[in-house]
């Protein structure tokens, strides 16, 4: 007896073989992604060899952990930290180009070793610090600070460093040391952006001695539990969290104690726009934009800028009798 072909499925509706096979592959990838995501979310340390304070699991496979036991600090904020990738890829470091992604792209020519920093000027004990000494002689802490750029963006950065005060105490400043000056490397081979005269090289910054002695002020050697990436100011930089970011000078090669207020690079460029103090202040506008708001990297809309970048409780007393509109 002839078996009749069922005639309710016309030949045109038979799924072509290519689509049938694609669908199997698609279903397989959905399952794989679901499993991977579930594992990734619930067991992030499954594949990392160690967990150290301030290190993201995502980084622990590819980069060495340099600071396994860091002191924590009460001065750290508990706000959401800006992802490491964004800190590296978005920075102003004109020594490597004026674009935000330029430092990451071009800082590979910087050689952070060997590196030594003379501490000179109005001090009883002028001395040379080798970066390796710095890493061993000072007690390193994790300091999670807000950083507010004068341009109107900000980040929360887990620095590794030590109070500048510790270094100052070793140098023993004299009574004439009213200010402290910092100078960045000047080497067009290592820092090709310096071939362009956008700023007068080398980059210079300075602090009043009481600002330098403040517990919040640190010299930083690392970031996210690792040595400072070149693009973030390796091997040693300053971090002054209550001031605009340009005060936090990078790749320091010299520290000098002086009697007169030192000239600083952005102030040299445009003294009507950039001042020596550069305290974060929503009430003092920049000539081209208001400083009332800032964009926290990772957020789309702007948020309110806080006086002294939210560190007013700790630092306002330093400026009690100063007209901050005059001393911007």
């Amino acid at each position: 007896m002839l078996i009749k072909r069922p005639n309710d499925i016309p030949p045109s509706e038979i799924t072509p073989e290519t689509i049938y096979r694609q669908r199997r592959r698609f279903m397989q990838s959905v399952v794989k992604t679901t499993v991977a995501t579930t594992v990734g979310i619930t067991m992030p340390t499954l594949f990392s060899s160690t967990t150290a304070a301030g290190v993201l699991p995502a980084n622990s496979q590819s980069e060495a952990i340099d600071f396994p036991r860091l002191k924590t600090s009460l001065l750290s904020t508990d706000e959401d930290q800006t992802p490491f990738k964004k800190i590296k890829n978005y920075a102003n470091f004109y020594e490597f180009g004026t674009g935000k992604a330029d430092p990451k792209a071009h800082a590979h020519t910087l050689k952070p070793r060997p590196w030594s920093i003379p501490v000179v000027g109005e001090v009883e004990k002028p001395q040379m610090f080798d970066i390796e000494d710095i890493l061993t002689k000072f007690t390193l802490e994790e300091r999670i600070y807000r950083l507010r750029c004068v341009e109107g963006w900000s980040m929360v950065i887990p620095w590794v460093g030590f109070p500048l005060r510790d270094l100052i105490k070793r140098a023993q400043p004299t009574a004439r040391a009213k200010f402290i000056q910092f100078i960045t490397l000047h080497d067009t081979q290592q820092m090709p952006g310096q071939k362009s005269p956008v700023l007068d090289w080398p980059y210079q910054e300075g602090l009043r001695i009481d600002e330098a002695m403040h517990p919040l002020t640190i010299l930083s050697v690392g970031l996210y539990g690792q040595l400072l990436p070149n693009e973030n100011g390796a091997p040693l930089r300053l971090v002054v969290p209550w001031k605009y970011g340009f005060k936090s000078i990078k790749s320091i090669v010299k520290i000098r104690f002086v009697e007169q207020q030192p000239s600083t690079s952005w102030e040299q460029y445009a003294s009507d726009v950039y001042g020596f103090y550069a305290n974060v202040n929503p009430d003092v506008p920049h000539p081209r934009w208001s400083q009332k708001k800032e964009r926290r990297i990772g957020e789309f809309f702007k948020r309110k800028t806080l006086m002294f970048n939210g560190y007013g409780e700790q630092v306002a007393a330093l400026y009690n009798n100063m007209d901050l509109r005059k001393y911007y």
Partner: protein
């Protein structure tokens, strides 16, 4: 990172929409010299490139202004107003944008006819101050970041395009039939 928008996507959006507005403005100013020098009159008669580029310039400038209002100020009108009246770089940018509006409106053929050829032409000469204002806006903003290399390029191109408008020079370059 949101792909190619980078770590600060809001800033990228504001910057790029502004740049494209400026580029289309300059492209608009390229059309007539190109037409006269090449003798290829279809550029306007058939393809209406000047209208196309002009409208794109307006489109991107509008996006630029909206992005600025939304992403910088969350549409706080008093903050936007304050910026525009107190900051020269913003004042001139706003002027450039405002002046584009009547040009965009009169790109429509019914309105062209109503205005009459003479008046329409006179109105659209505003393209020159608009382009200059836009470049100055960009220049003043970039200046405070110590890097005027981008606006310098636009300023150079604009200068060339405006010089090409100089009648004796244009006469010389025009392709004779």
């Amino acid at each position: 990172m949101i792909g190619r928008l980078g770590a600060n996507p809001a800033e990228t959006i504001i910057h790029e929409t502004g740049q494209w507005g400026l580029r289309f403005l300059l492209l608009t100013l390229c059309v007539t010299p190109l037409r006269l020098i090449s003798g290829w009159h279809d550029i306007n008669k058939r393809f209406q490139l000047r209208k196309l580029f002009g409208l794109y310039a307006f489109f991107y400038s509008s996006l630029h202004f909206i992005a600025y209002g939304l992403l910088e100020h969350s549409v706080d009108l008093s903050a936007i107003f304050s910026d525009i009246v107190t900051i020269p770089a913003m004042t001139i940018g706003f002027i450039a944008f405002i002046l584009m509006i009547p040009l965009a409106i009169t790109s429509n053929s019914t309105l062209i006819k109503r205005l009459g050829k003479q008046r329409w032409k006179q109105l659209h000469y505003l393209t020159y101050p608009i382009a200059i204002a836009a470049v100055v806006h960009f220049w003043w903003l970039a200046q405070t970041k110590a890097d005027i290399s981008e606006p310098l390029i636009y300023a150079t191109l604009l200068t060339i395009l405006l010089l090409l408008r100089y009648p004796p020079l244009l006469e010389r370059l025009t392709k004779k039939k």
